[in-house]
Amino acid sequence: MSDDGSLIFLLDVSTDEAVEAELLCEVQECHINDWMGLWQPAMAKIRAELTARGIAKEKLPQSGHWNWARKIDEVDGLLDFRSFCITLNKVTQGLMRTDISQISQVGRIDGQKGKPLVYVDYLEAAPWNCSYHGSPVLYRGIGTALITAAIGLSLKEGYKGRIGLHSLPQSNDFYAKLGMTDLGPDAKCQNLRYFEMTPEQAKDCLGEE
């Protein structure tokens, strides 16, 4: 465990047991290398397999197109952006970039309008941790861990747990099940649904130990 990492646990789907993983508050070069060398070929293989099975193009994975090298590089050194990643067995399992600037995104829910929040710019689990039309999943818990990190950052910044994000259509159920409020399609963001978490919802999501 590195000095700046937190011990977390993911679910190994094949054994149904918990496995140790690490949540890091910075995406580094080694994680980008994993995205380039492991994620992209894995996603290409999944797409090829789904295409071979006759899955329609519009039902293929909707993520996988972000250039994480560029996403991380373009905010390097900017204090308003924080990146997170999850590793297990020294392999990157999930990536997230957040924006705390309040420049473009603030609270939208009634009672929270205009209030500061942590906006999740980009979040993605590794291709082998996502089920596409029945494809096997290796580890579960990546999304929850990254959202937990976003809430933690929000609390640290004094934003009381408020977070917001635009979900890809295939992921809407994930954020709804986490308890986030669905504010519907956002015409300014390619009609992706905007989800927001209030301080009360954040408290429920974190729960009591």
Binding site: A44, A48, G141
Partner: protein, 168 residues
């Protein structure tokens, strides 16, 4: 920043996750490409064609615009029919540079930009899967483009040419 929770806490939440792919964030659109893909609608308001288009979509549109069947296209760029269909149907498939060269020649578009558009840097590691594919030639795939498809194709070609001018 440290996150301290018990193993049971993490496990309970992992088990409760919705069984869907997990991602968030607005899909990338290069700002300059966005400009090139915009057109003015009937009401005078700018509308966005279904952008960003991918290489497979470009090939599909360009082939039909030229009135070529999948077999014709495969012959033209010296590949087999299975690969021709893979190029059109799998946006993550990365053709060989040699194939991109022939496509650029056949469709008269800048080769360097087409090479970049095709994403030849992505590992092309699923040949065994491609070999297993059995494709049936689709007679409807030679049909003419409708107006919207034609606008999209022109927008893509404009992007390629614009990128080429930038490089030149």
């Amino acid at each position: 920043m440290k996150f301290k929770r018990s193993k049971e806490w993490w496990l309970a939440r992992a088990r409760a996750e919705a069984d869907v792919p997990i991602a968030a964030g607005v899909p990338d659109v290069d700002e300059e490409d966005l400009d090139a893909c915009k057109f003015v609608g009937e009401a005078g308001e700018p509308e966005l064609v279904d952008a960003p288009a991918d290489f497979s979509q470009f090939i599909h549109l360009m082939r039909r615009e030229r009135g070529l069947s999948v077999e014709d296209f495969a012959d033209l760029v010296h590949i087999d029919v299975a690969e021709a269909q893979l190029i059109e149907e799998d946006p993550f498939y990365s053709p060989e540079p040699r194939t991109v060269y022939y496509i650029a020649q056949a469709f008269n578009v800048p080769q360097a930009e087409l090479n970049s558009f095709a994403g030849v840097t992505i590992a092309n590691d699923f040949e065994p899967i491609a070999d297993q594919l059995r494709y049936a030639a689709r007679s409807e795939s030679r049909s003419a483009l409708d107006d919207e498809e034609l606008v999209l194709l022109n927008a893509i070609v404009a992007v390629l040419e614009k990128r080429n001018e930038r490089v030149a």
